[in-house]
């Protein structure tokens, strides 16, 4: 961190970095450091990138307001930057800029997405402190009487029939496959 700040001061002294940029950059660096520690976030020495995780999912649907209301009321996602212009951000997990994920729900744009050979057929979200009875009870209260799947890993469909999976850390874990 000290080396990084030293570089910032040098850029400020040489005029390459303005006062505002200096403070913003250091603010972001502090947030990254706070979220995971400098060593954990350092870029790899080899080629390619060190991926820290998913930043966002871009979810296109016929009516973003319907998706917004579903995901915020069902899963507690926080609605941000909804200006009533066909899109909103739905934040969850750690704070924004500190490891948080977000779903960008939006209406179709003028140019439809190019067809691809790949498809994201579902997204699975982790629910910590999973309590089977409480999770199933909460789903039932929202009108999902018969989710598919198994204890600790359940599937429901959202208002646009997109497959949504929720799971705990035991049932869905890459290292337990």
């Amino acid at each position: 961190m000290e080396k990084f700040i030293d570089g910032l001061i040098r850029d400020f002294e040489s005029g390459r970095l303005g006062r505002r940029e200096f403070c913003q950059t250091l603010g972001i660096a502090t947030a990254v450091y706070a979220a995971g520690g400098a060593e954990a976030n350092a870029a790899p020495a080899g080629r390619g990138f060190k991926a820290l995780g998913v930043n966002h999912l871009s979810y296109e649907c016929p009516d973003y307001r319907k998706a917004r209301d579903f995901y915020s009321s069902m899963f507690g996602m926080q609605v941000l930057n909804d200006k009533g212009k066909g899109r909103a951000n739905l934040a969850f997990g750690p704070e924004p800029a500190k490891g948080g994920n977000f779903l960008v729900v939006h209406n179709p744009g003028a140019n439809p997405p190019k067809p691809t050979e790949a498809v994201i057929d579902h997204i699975c979200y982790t629910i910590p402190n999973w309590d089977e009875a409480k999770v199933r009870g909460a789903l039932k209260a929202k009108g999902f009487d018969a989710p598919t799947g198994r204890d600790g890993s359940l599937h429901v469909y959202d208002p646009f029939d997109y497959d949504v999976q929720i799971a705990n850390a035991v049932q869905e874990n890459a290292f337990r496959r």
Binding site: C23, L26, A35, N55, A97, D121, I123
Partner: protein, 193 residues
């Protein structure tokens, strides 16, 4: 915190504190936030409160080809391979997800598959045809610098690299899927603001 940085920078610019004092003060302030943030991270959750993306289920004609591409570009390990899929976690076994301190939130993974989406699911019911689509995914990478990233992507042979907004780049994976990368500057507060 940014106001504090600005104050100290002003003091330095006016000659009130030395360069060494500025460096030490800012370093202490930035790294102390680390300890405070970690201590305050835990909070109770209601029954359906989501903590993080667990996995992305990515289906394509050749999961090995896609997995190798994502492994190469993002330095991801491949674990738990079967005849039809493989998982690529964002981190090593035992690590916690970026920004998460809780023990019951696993690393986010991509599960890259090649399976028939028209086949009946485990319960016997056919998969519904969705009106919604995840048309691209953004990934956060460490130390993101757009110009450096362009050079790196080019050297990796990545196709269709292009600017995306203020803070990111888009590219195309081997199956034509739109992939975005950015640093933490692209987040739920800045995106679409």
């Amino acid at each position: 915190m940014e106001a504090f940085f600005a104050t100290k920078l002003d003091e330095f610019a006016k000659g009130k504190i030395s360069r060494r004092a500025l460096l030490e003060t800012l370093t202490v302030a930035a790294t102390t936030t680390y300890a405070t943030g970690a201590a305050n991270a835990a909070a109770p959750d209601p029954a359906l409160k989501i903590a993080l993306i667990n996995h992305i289920s990515y289906n394509c004609p050749d999961f090995r080809k896609a997995a190798d591409w994502y492994s190469k570009v993002f330095n991801l390990d491949q674990v738990g391979a079967t005849k039809i899929d493989v998982a690529l976690p964002f981190g090593k076994k035992g690590e916690k997800p970026f920004g998460v301190t809780a023990n019951n939130v696993p690393l986010t993974s991509m599960i890259i598959r090649s399976r028939d989406l028209n086949a009946p699911q485990a319960g016997g019911a056919p998969r519904r045809k969705s009106q919604a689509v995840i048309e691209h995914i953004g990934y956060t990478v460490a130390d993101f610098d757009r110009e450096r990233a362009k050079v790196e992507l080019k050297s990796l042979g990545v196709e269709n690299v292009r600017d995306g907004g203020l803070y990111s780049l888009h590219m195309t994976d081997p199956f034509g899927y739109d992939v975005q990368i950015s640093g933490v500057a692209n987040n739920a507060l800045s995106d679409g603001a």
